[in-house]
């Protein structure tokens, strides 16, 4: 019984964890290029999930609905950078924070106008009942979540380390002025970072909706927990985000299982505060490099 | 308070093997030096020699990797900058760091901070004594503005002053803390010849009032003219020390500067 519970909580924790990690990666992509923390990151996840529900409702098969949702959310990311962030190029950090918060409110309000306040569910990606492993029931969708996330991470790694655009984006992250001088169009890279980040967020939204439903107001919490993973993993560090996401997901799942489901949301946030206060460079970052970053 | 041996009575500031490392880069290597009281101490060196880093190590902005700075028998290293300021050290910044939307007078009034006391409650509830203190702050600040000759700009926003006057304002703000040791980081940077000349006179006047001045400067004429002693840094190391005349004739110094181009 004990072992069964343990396994069950571990699987659901890891499923949650990779979602946090994907949100965290979304934060990292934008942060790396712009040093902006996008407070609307959680809203990309919500919009992605709800759009998939919409497309499935139109009769799209799941893979097409997935693709369409990611595309539309990417377009939103494009619009956000092109028409809002670009205007605020010279704004103070405070203004930028306010601006991305304002965008999150606009996304959230729009989602509520379009979909109302009810939670929506998406059919699982594959048919069939839960897989029984040592007495624990594992939803096939959990495996889909892990698989799709792995694909996203691999695709991003290839993009950043092999493609010209990816390398150019990393160069901007390193030193925007130097990047500009060697002829990298920094503005386009910023645009690309918002598009990519929105896409990753949307993908996370689509794969999680069959398990945990999606509702217009989930963005803030998803964003905060995703940020917790990003901060704990070291802001800007992709693999750190994965590990930290897993830690947070497990912590949340075990708290819900063994302590109190009401306080499960608080766990990630308390860990976030501890990370920010005592190890702002993250578990896997170097404190020396962190001194050079603008927090 | 660390128990270091009492300094020779004539020493104001002692640097004891100050070593500063950033990652793999050594910015300062075992700098040991003593500044006597009441002089103008010049510090020169090519760009990147570590002059500003040395200032930051003394004033508590940076914590040296090894070594320490001792001022009038008190170990500075490890103390936060605001405590060091209260001990009687004040400074200006290489890149002007005024409170640009505050007025010229307010900038200098801020310099009175270590010399006044009222906190949130005392100011918010106007405790007796607090208005008097404010008046005193204003009068003393005006005095220092007069001293540097900026009294006519008292109510202008500091950011609206031309660079030359901003540099002077920084000096006035630092003086308002009534320092015993004043660290000036390239005060003549961006000044024209006449302004530089006036600045030189001002610095000598300050020193004449018993304030020890540590002056980092690129303007060789100024530094040779007004300093009594000079410390030359090169790649984070002490290259030479001595009087301006000795430094001028030092072949190593000449080579370092010529070598730089």
């Amino acid at each position: 019984m004990l072992a069964t519970d343990l396994l069950q909580y571990t699987v659901s924790g890891l499923t949650l964890g990779v979602i946090f990690a994907l949100v965290a990666i979304g934060f990292n992509i934008i942060y790396n290029v712009t040093e902006i923390i996008n407070f609307a990151q959680g809203e990309f996840v919500v919009v992605g999930g709800l759009l998939a529900v919409f497309f499935v409702g139109l009769g799209f098969p799941i893979p097409m609905a997935f693709g369409a949702s990611v595309l539309v959310t990417a377009a939103l990311g494009f619009g956000m950078e092109r028409f809002v962030i670009r205007r605020a190029r010279n704004a103070s950090i405070l203004s930028l924070i306010i601006i991305t918060i304002a965008m999150s409110m606009i996304f959230k309000g729009s989602a509520m106008s379009l979909w109302g306040k009810d939670p929506y569910v998406l059919p699982p990606f594959s048919e069939g009942g839960p897989i029984m492993v040592a007495g624990a029931a594992i939803q096939p969708q959990a495996l889909w979540v892990l698989a799709v996330s792995a694909l996203v991470v691999i695709a991003l790694s290839i993009f950043f380390h092999r493609s010209v655009y990816g390398k150019a984006m990393l160069a901007c992250a390193d030193n925007a002025n130097a990047a500009r001088m060697v002829g990298i169009p920094v503005r386009q890279m910023v645009l690309l970072s918002f598009v990519l980040s929105a896409s990753v967020g949307a993908a996370a939204g689509v794969i999680i909706t069959p398990i945990s439903l999606m509702q217009y107001d989930r963005g803030a919490m998803l964003g905060l927990k995703g940020f917790a993973a990003a901060a704990l993993g070291g802001l800007g560090n992709f693999y750190g985000a994965l590990a930290a996401g897993a830690i947070l997901g497990l912590a949340e799942s075990f708290t819900a299982g063994y302590i109190s489901s009401g306080y499960k949301d608080a766990v990630s946030l308390v860990l976030l505060l501890f990370a920010l206060f005592f190890k702002p460079e993250g578990l896997f970052g170097s404190s020396e490099a962190a001194k050079l970053k603008k927090f | 308070m660390n128990t270091s041996p009492p300094p020779p009575s004539s020493t104001c500031l002692t640097m004891e093997e100050i070593h500063m490392q950033f990652g793999g880069v050594t910015a300062l290597r075992n700098i040991s030096y003593a500044i006597p009281r009441g002089i103008i101490q010049g510090v020169i060196g090519p760009n990147g020699a570590g002059k500003s880093t040395l200032f930051n190590c003394i004033t508590g902005v940076l914590h040296p990797t090894m070594g320490r700075a001792v001022y009038e028998g008190v170990v500075l290293t490890g103390k936060p900058p605001h405590k060091i300021a209260r001990l009687g050290l004040s400074r200006t910044f290489q890149h002007v760091a005024l409170f640009s939307s505050m007025t010229v007078l307010e900038n200098v009034m801020l310099g009175r901070h270590p010399k006044s006391k009222a906190g949130f409650w005392a100011t918010g509830l106007r405790f007796p004594g607090m208005p008097g203190e404010e008046k005193d702050i204003r009068e003393r600040a005006l005095h220092f503005l007069n001293f540097v000759g900026l009294e006519r700009e008292a109510n202008h926003p500091a950011g609206s002053l031309p660079l030359g006057k901003q540099k002077i304002l920084e000096v006035a703000r630092a003086l308002a803390t009534e320092p015993k040791l004043l660290l000036l980081d390239e005060p003549a940077g961006g000044l024209n010849m006449r302004e530089t000349e006036n600045l030189g006179e001002l610095i000598q006047e300050i020193c004449g009032q018993g304030v020890t001045v540590m002056l980092v400067e690129h303007d060789m004429n100024l530094i040779m003219e007004i300093s009594q002693r000079i410390l030359v840094l090169h790649y984070g190391e002490t290259l030479a020390t001595g009087t301006p005349r000795e430094i001028k004739d030092n072949p190593q110094v000449i080579e370092a500067y010529l070598g730089e181009g």
């Binding site: 902006i36 405070l94 306010i98 106008s113 946030l269 | 505050m102 100011t123 109510n155």
Partner: protein
Amino acid sequence: MSKKDWWIFLVTAFLIGVFPLVVQPFRSVSHYVDVMVFAGIFALVCIGLSMLMGYAGQISIAQAAFFGIGAYSSGILTVHFHMNPWAAMPVGAALAGFVAWLLGIPALRLKGHYLAMATLGFGVIVNIIMNEEVKWTGGPSGLVGIPGLSIGGREIFHELAWYYLVWGFVFMGLLFCFHVLHSRVGRALRAIHEEEAAAEAMGVPTARYKVQVFVLSAIFASIAGSLYTHYMAFINPSSFNLEWSIQFLLMVMVGGMQSLWGAVLGAVLMTFMRNEWLHVFADQEIIVYGALLLIVALFVPKGLVSLLPRLLPSRIFKSSGTREDES
């Protein structure tokens, strides 16, 4: 306080003083007095936030949490422990101040985005506690049976009395903050905002001041929360959630965060919007708030008070020598 501020202070106090007399005879607007009670309560929160954000330059997305700490302290102490409301209020303020101090020491070492996230996370945690500690807080369904305030043994029922009480608090708060701002402490706060390193080098203990002003903003929010509790006689966690922290940000931004008058103006304006003018948008309200926040941040970063001098006779605003609250 400068002459200019005294004038604005007296004129505003006069306008606030006669406002009920003007609106009460007219049935269609007589409930504006009630709206203004809320506006005053929010203004108190915003004054504190303006000190923190506009003057000292430190962001907080947790003011609703401190507002809530005050509200629940007053609620719990009066309901469960039958404490006198006037005694509960300072207890709440002390608790909020203490929590702000504990949070502020590590949090205010952070800057910009990290500070925003830390305060945001803290605010959400406090809200979760309000929802979960059902035994004390009543949980999501709220805390009921909270007594009103009494003065001289008589409970105040009339909203007019509430109006003058709340705005009395606002003006006392304003007076306190103006005095702080026009002193060495105010200069130190603005100096921290503009050039923290230089302020530190001039002997300003920047870390301590940041924590102190954070505590001050929490105390203001907490007192406002206590007033809110006794006026409403009922509270639940949804009045103290993230949305409200953002509302307070919005009020301060709209009015102009680098001015205490802006904070008051923003609070009044946004309270009227919320209660009176935005009903037409119904559920789309939040889009309107988002758009408003966006427009202000992009195009009027200094808020509406920065536009006022252009509308009023220039003499009033330009005659004064000090620039202490224009910055």
